[in-house]
Subunit: 217 residues, 2 copies
């Protein structure tokens, strides 16, 4: 096993290796699952994680020209079943049924993008609360009220957030994240990049683990 200090792999910048880039959408079940694992995985190899909220709707639908995955014939049903199966296998709380319909991910993604500019640890806590609100408590994270409750629980100041919103800052931050993620060919959630090497999907995390441990192949 790794001793938590990979001093031989690539991507070292000065004294510290580059962080693992983690891209996720708040309405992605597999983004949620990955969010529970990625920090520990990276830490085992002496890496931090740079979390970036993006919008799968833009990458999948607008750039790739596909319908939402859950609307695809055959594959849509499989993905729904696979998410429930993953949650059962790994003991992850997951109560949201596909019959419930989805939320729009904009409000959550924007709040996270803004929160991250202030306090990364609190922003990660925000992501956890947002995912929990959506996938466990089955709330509508497209509603500002739900997002604001999560922000308050993490200690963010509502006056600051409303001021930022009045200047359209959270929306601009998320739009910038989406644009940057597309420039890196991020086409789904979760998506990871380590030293330029891309890994898509929660089932690739063990390969990402191998890559970090060995320095790549």
């Amino acid at each position: 096993m790794a001793d938590g200090r990979d001093t031989t792999g690539p991507g070292r910048v000065g004294a510290s290796p580059a962080p693992v880039e983690f891209f996720f959408d708040f309405i992605s079940p597999f983004g949620y699952f990955a969010s529970l694992l990625i920090d520990d995985l990276a830490a085992r190899h002496g890496r931090t994680v740079d979390w970036t909220s993006m919008l799968v709707g833009v990458s999948v639908m607008k750039v790739m020209g596909m319908p939402p995955i859950v609307d695809l014939p055959m594959k849509g049903d499989y993905i729904v079943r696979d998410a429930l199966r993953y949650a059962r296998q790994h003991g992850v709380p997951y109560e949201r049924l596909s019959t419930l319909g989805g939320s729009r991910p904009l409000a959550a993604g924007r709040a996270f993008a803004w929160a991250k500019t202030l306090d990364l640890q609190a922003a990660k806590q925000l992501a956890s609360f947002l995912y929990q609100s959506y996938f466990v408590e089955c709330r509508d994270i497209g509603a500002q009220s739900v997002v604001c409750q999560c922000l308050v629980r993490c200690g963010f100041d509502m006056g600051d957030y409303e001021h930022a919103q009045s200047q359209n800052i959270p929306a601009q931050l998320l739009a910038g994240n989406v644009k940057a993620s597309l420039a890196k060919n991020v086409f789904g959630s979760p998506y990871f990049i380590v030293d330029g090497e891309p890994f898509f999907g929660v089932e690739k995390m063990h390969v990402l683990d191998d890559w970090l441990r060995t320095g790549g192949w």
Copy 2:
């Protein structure tokens, strides 16, 4: 570890558990990778494997309405890179570059479907030779001459094959396989079904392994 005799899991029919259903396309890199692993994986749990050639082009393009995966913006390049990375990691011979263009999978799929009706073990050997011809020797397995060479190497009688072809039997067998696979929602390659439970992709094989070992969850 499993002792090779899972006597508690579902799917037992009389004295023997149901075989693992394995669906694959001959121009699918991940179908090739899976073909190298699935028999041993199933055998560890006392299962045999029912191999069925299908056509991803029909499921992905005609039923799902998507372009070929390798033609998708962003994801296409990722899949090509991922296949090469998988091959390097696992020491799988893989010489076919995406710049070479693809073969039509019909001739190979038909030959396999026919061969399987005569001799399952020889048909599996045929699949191995076809995959090797395509992904290692970089030959055009859309050409009858290449397919026939593989059939001969596996001991199939060319007179029998030509006679079957004159009656359109291999084509009908493959068409039947494709139809049956679509009825089971098989939308990609490799795809596995065990006791009705579906698993898509080579990276899901460890979950399939867990499922067979535990009897499901």
